[in-house]
């Protein structure tokens, strides 16, 4: 199996990642399920991670700080909206920042048995703020958020060509 190979597709307001891991579904699920495990792989290189609180259950919250190599601290908050052991995790990323970088999005992760290993399929859905309020009120999948980021990119490409 090819390593370092993530299939990534962008469609409307959704980014989908698919990658094969040469471990069992159970192990892949396990390393998402505790602060100790997450601290080992979640942060980008050079970052360390401190968990303030972690409740890995439906509706539970994981609050953590990422300490950047430049001395900056980044506050993060994730709410697990639905967990089905061992093959499904869905969460909302609730930023604390301001402005453009503080876009809330929903991730849905499926662990799918693939021979000896596992395919991890993750969908990131970028909702509008209005959608988010609705989702906060009611657990479950997001419907109808339309940002068409992919389409936007296509238009911009056309625009660039038309301007020569």
């Amino acid at each position: 199996m090819v390593k370092n190979n993530v299939e990534t597709t962008i469609e409307d307001n959704k980014v989908t990642y698919k990658r094969y891991f040469d471990v069992s579904v159970e192990l892949l699920f396990e390393v998402w399920s505790s602060a100790e495990h997450l601290a080992e792989w979640w942060g980008p290189d050079g970052f360390t991670l401190t968990t303030k609180s972690m409740d890995f259950s439906n509706g539970g919250v994981w609050e953590f700080i990422m300490h950047g190599p430049d001395g900056h601290d980044y506050q993060n908050k994730i709410r697990f909206t639905e967990i089905r052991e061992p093959d499904f995790i869905s969460y909302q990323h609730l930023g604390h920042g301001e402005g453009e970088a503080d876009v809330h999005f929903q991730s849905r992760i499926v662990f799918e048995k693939a021979g000896e290993g596992t395919n991890l399929i993750m969908e990131q859905i970028f909702p509008s703020k209005e959608e988010l309020i609705r989702v906060n009120e009611k657990f479950g999948a997001i419907e109808g958020a339309k940002q068409h980021i992919g389409n936007l990119a296509k238009y911009l490409e056309k625009l660039a060509h038309s301007r020569g």
Binding site: E100, F126, K129, I149, N151, L156
Partner: protein, 109 residues
């Protein structure tokens, strides 16, 4: 409202498409493409201007709208940075789970 939220609305997304396709359009020209009232169009344009998705320049009596390439570029960069972050994160995840797998299998005799 941030740029992503501004574009989450179908009418506003359509306005941005029209402006992108034509290079520049006046508010009147934009309005001709929709069945909604002039005040409703104005409201959408105000949001697109405030979120810096569109530029507006006054030209005599006309308001001319163009795409703010910088802001669109920022949005695309932001999205690209999220994707890049996840690619790297999955590499780290891969290394980590393989390490655990190895440790556990060597522990089992």
């Amino acid at each position: 409202m941030n740029a992503f939220a501004a574009l989450a609305d179908d009418t506003r997304m359509e306005i941005v498409r029209l402006v992108a396709k034509n290079g520049e359009l006046t508010s009147t020209e934009i309005g001709q493409n929709f069945k909604i009232s002039a005040p409703a169009i104005s409201h959408h344009l105000k949001i697109l201007k405030e979120s810096k998705v569109l530029h507006m320049k006054k030209d005599a009596q006309r308001r001319v709208y163009t795409l703010n390439g910088t802001r669109i570029g920022e949005m695309e960069e932001w999205l690209a940075s999220i994707i890049d972050l996840w690619h790297k994160r999955m590499d780290k995840l891969d290394k980590y789970v393989l390490k655990i797998k190895k440790e556990r299998s060597s522990g089992k005799k």
